[in-house]
């Protein structure tokens, strides 16, 4: 690959590795697997970089991450997860009370998102966390905008139920 293409790739694509990793974490739900997915996706992105025709580089990278994640999920369906030091670390008790409450609230929400069926989960993550537009989500996932909207509505409804959102007002 020509030098200037590699430099352009580093400038345009590499700033989005946190976003790529975030999407992979929610799709494969394992930190090691997510790292493998992102590395694989980044190298594929480099390989197919001449097929990138401008537009939102982040959405382009995320669509590759999504494809690699799906392949990974299919390949490893049913495998047991290994023990993860990051998961062990969570038990450590160095946090202040406020931080502990905040992080347990975060864990509760992460758990709710991870429990969603994949077709809703990916839409929720792309909208609520990656903050993509409906149009971009439609491109990344490969479904019409109308489908994005209906899946988003159903995903939010499920999350509302899981998290008890709106219960106070209703009760």
């Amino acid at each position: 690959m020509p030098e200037h293409d590699v430099e352009r790739f580093e400038r345009i694509i590499l700033p989005h590795l946190d976003d790529a990793y975030t999407l992979a974490r929610y799709l494969v739900r394992d930190s090691h697997a997510a790292q493998d997915v992102v590395q694989d996706a980044a190298l594929r992105a480099l390989r197919y970089f001449d097929g990138y025709r401008g537009g939102d580089a982040r959405a382009w990278l995320l669509s590759i991450v999504r494809n690699v994640s799906l392949t990974w999920r299919q390949r490893t369906a049913g495998d047991a997860h290994t023990v993860d030091i990051a998961d062990i670390g969570v038990a450590g008790g160095h946090e202040t009370d406020a931080a502990a409450i905040e992080s347990s609230e975060r864990e509760r929400i992460v758990g709710a998102i991870e429990s969603l069926p994949e077709e809703f989960r990916e839409i929720i993550v792309l909208r609520e966390i990656e903050e993509l537009s409906y149009k971009e989500i439609s491109t990344v996932v490969g479904v019409p905008v109308g489908t994005v909207m209906s899946r988003l509505a159903r995903g939010r409804k499920r999350l509302a139920a899981l998290l008890g959102v709106g219960v106070e007002e209703a009760g």
Binding site: T22, Q35, Q39, L43, V83, I109, E128, R156, V165
Partner: protein, 249 residues
Amino acid sequence: MRCDTCRELLNARIDNELPAAEVADVDQHLASCATCTAEYRLFAQTHRTLSEAHLRYTAPDLLKARIRGAIAQERHEAPSVRRTRPWWRFAAAGIVIAAMSSALTFAVTRPSGTPVANDLVASHVRSLQPGHLTDIVSTNQHNVKPWFNGRVDVSPPVMDLAQQGFTLVGGRVDYVGGRTVPVVVYARRQHYINLYAWPVADAAPADPQTSMRNGYNLMSWRSQGIQHWAVSDLNARELAELVKALRTM
């Protein structure tokens, strides 16, 4: 506007995805419909709960380093082979080229073995920072060894050396000398020992050699097509004990 039409547009209203004209229609309907308003609040509150919860992750530094390293390697490859020819014709050649180029990288850029020693010491020091030592924590060799499957291209020796006074701590994958390598971690007293391994196709076996760098002791040896390195702040005599135990088991 009817209720069912309004319902379909509520999320688009929240996400600022509606044209101005439709925003007015939806808002007008909401002003007069308690049921749709309740639904709107449920969606809006769910959206707010998620957006306030800091749900993003940060990619680990090691992952970023690995990707940058892989890109740097790609940069040195010939530009034409990859895209312009049928993949199958060059797949076999590609494997050979990849194997040769990584061998060459080592041969050319690491003539005396010293830069890789620098990498190893840097990796060792980095591993001692909190949370960097191990990706898998286990004192059981039967947990650690299979963990490397699919993560690296070599299966490193993982042994129970408790009898010899070395505790197996766990393993991780690290990036050293331009490649991803398995690292097995042992401990003796308060000292950690990092053991690195990578394949060196047809290099002749070599007996352990001891060296020192920045106050750390290093030992390297080759056997059965694998290059091994041990790095630790443990004294050279005890490090040699570990290497001997590894080689005789």
